[in-house]
Amino acid sequence: MNELKPGPDSMGAKHFRLVVFWLRILARWRPGSRQILLLMALAVGVLGALAALTFKYATLGIQLLLTGHGEGYVETFQQLAWWQRLLVPAVGGLLAGAVLHFGQRIEQRKATDYMEAVALGDGDVPLRPSLIRSVAALFSIASGAAIGKEGPLVQLAAVGASVLGRLRHEPPARLRLLVACGAAAGIAAAYNAPIAGALFVAEIILGSIAMESLGPLLLSSMAATLTIRSLDSPSVLYQLAVDQSVPAGNISLFLLLGVFCGLVAPLFIGFLKQSKRLFAQIAGPASLRLAAGGLIFGILAIYHPEVAGNGQSVIRSILDHEFAWQLVALIMVMKVLAVAAVFGSGAVGGVFTPSLLVGASLGYLAAVLATALGVNGVVPEFYVVVGMGAFLGAAAQAPIMALLLMFEMTLCPAIILPMMAASVSAYFVARSVSSESLYGESLRAGPRSVFDKAFGTITVRNILRPSFAKTTASSAFGEIAARFLRASEGVLPVTDGKGIYLGAVLLDDVRPYLKEADLARSVIAHDIMRDDLPTLSADFDLPEALRTFGQTNYETLPVVDTVNGQIIGLLARADLFLVVSELTRRDGVKAT
């Protein structure tokens, strides 16, 4: 076949070969907007994993500076003198507070939590406020505070995704999904749990497990996990040294454990909120509150260094039967107090992993009780893991995510059935006691976004893709081919010299001919554009836009300003559906 050859007025030979190469690829296979979204989800996953690793090693570095030790937090605190256990968290809190205080001078905007940005906002997570909060979190976490690092780590992954999406001028629905992908990648990277990462976001934040959104989330989680596994060496988080299954008769005990976790979880959440309210009464700058929180935590750590860190190593110790049940109960109470002090003081961090420790302790105590009551076949490890999952499922009100997370953390299939029984019972009991979840606050108060408008008042103008490739009627075929290389959609709008919309060239129409040099000059956009393509008015409301898409098979339509006839954007059917489904979800949330 005759293909493009460099002409006398063409670009340099090297650049030319590159263009021909891409035209060949484009002629055979060119990703549509949906495929581009999936590719971006993969990129976001890799970015998220890199952010997680950076955060992990930065925390380790600051921990070394503050304590002189680089082991786990519990081991580190065990090696510190009593006054160091008191001082290090207080200094960490003070530094974190100072970062927040001075950061606010540099950047006035309030940091948008990734959950707010996805659940309530339109995916816009500002970079600088997020970085400031992440640095503050570094000091709190590195000083051993009883708080999880997954919060800031996920925030970092999400802000990376938001920046990437904004650089590509993605419309709100897509930007929101990309941020959700970033969050999924962060969770997956933090816990080496790709399925739970995706489900965490789908179940808690997006409130949907529709494939349209779950697909990108899964890809992102997968990419993050693969990246972490190739750069770091994460092992199974909680290896269970048991090879038996749960006797069928014991399932009812797990149901009861679930009920118990479902009753305790709302109390835990209420206690954290109460602590926040108490700390809010302390007058003065944030650094003072954070230092006070650190000091309270330090006092607890003097007596029980096991309260330090996010609780992962203590869970391992419980699984390894290193503690008597009395000590487990004591550590649990101390841990709850420590988390309440640190979290309540306003430290930036998560309570996801600390809540796992509470669940693990409850599970262990339940196993001890069952053994004492003479129940046969009690395997404490199962109770510990199931307790973790049930408590987390109840606290986060996400039982499916909790179930899968426990499986991925242990890779033990025997826990699936008891976990199903416990997580479902825990969830429904917790829901009947209180509708408040660990993330309730973030999921309620957030930035204003297009999705806050009433369904009937949102127009196509609010949700279109404003950045797109276009061409003029007299553009030669060679130029059109080059523009399709850069375009993200399979539709190339054609305008006159004043930007008035005339029609559109469809990639599907011209794909087999893109590399034909002989057509490069003899065919122009006017020859191949379609003027029968339906257009959307920028002022259409969503029902009208849905009706227009319903009458055509085209996946993307041009959006035209009806006043002046100019094209102002494109709208993809998939993006419209994402918007409608999100508005419906939020209406449902408001109704409950």
Partner: protein, 154 residues
């Protein structure tokens, strides 16, 4: 590729010779030659559309060939008429005079058919022997056969 991409190219009429002095006159004669074709709903509209298209960008391919065309509702199917000018003439931005003219009327939705026809002609005419033979043929039958052989051998 679809079947359209492999479809043969058939000429609906051939003007041999084409006696015209100007581009507009040549287009007029070629359109008139297919005016009675059932696929041509409105010959005048086709003629106007082709002139408008020529205004937008001249359709000389080089190699002494021009391919005036228009996508228009004036035709219901792709129609092609060819002609060999008795006396070559300048055609828009072409550096050399044009001797062969192939006029295409394309229904609005037949984009792929149109691109296929354009590509096929362009490939055929890049072979200098084809044009040399077309220079020499004496009858419309020979003209059509030469073109058919050239397309077939692509």
């Amino acid at each position: 590729m679809t079947d359209t991409a492999h479809a043969p190219i058939n000429l609906d009429a051939i003007l041999l010779p084409l006696l015209a002095e100007t581009k507009v006159n040549a287009i007029r004669q070629l359109v008139d030659a297919i005016g009675g074709n059932p696929a041509v709903r409105d010959a005048e509209a086709l003629y106007e559309a082709i002139l408008v298209r020529e205004e937008e960008a001249p359709t000389a391919l080089g190699m002494r060939v021009a391919m005036p065309h228009a996508r228009t509702r004036a035709v219901t199917e792709l129609v092609i008429v060819g002609g060999r000018l008795e006396k070559p003439m300048p055609w828009g931005g072409s550096q050399e005079n044009v001797r062969f003219i192939f006029l295409l009327g394309v229904p609005p939705l037949a984009i792929e058919q149109y691109l296929h026809a354009m590509k096929t002609f362009a490939h055929a005419f890049k072979r200098t022997d084809v044009l040399k033979r077309l220079d020499k043929v004496k009858t419309t039958g020979e003209f059509e056969q030469t073109l058919r052989d050239a397309v077939h051998s692509l």
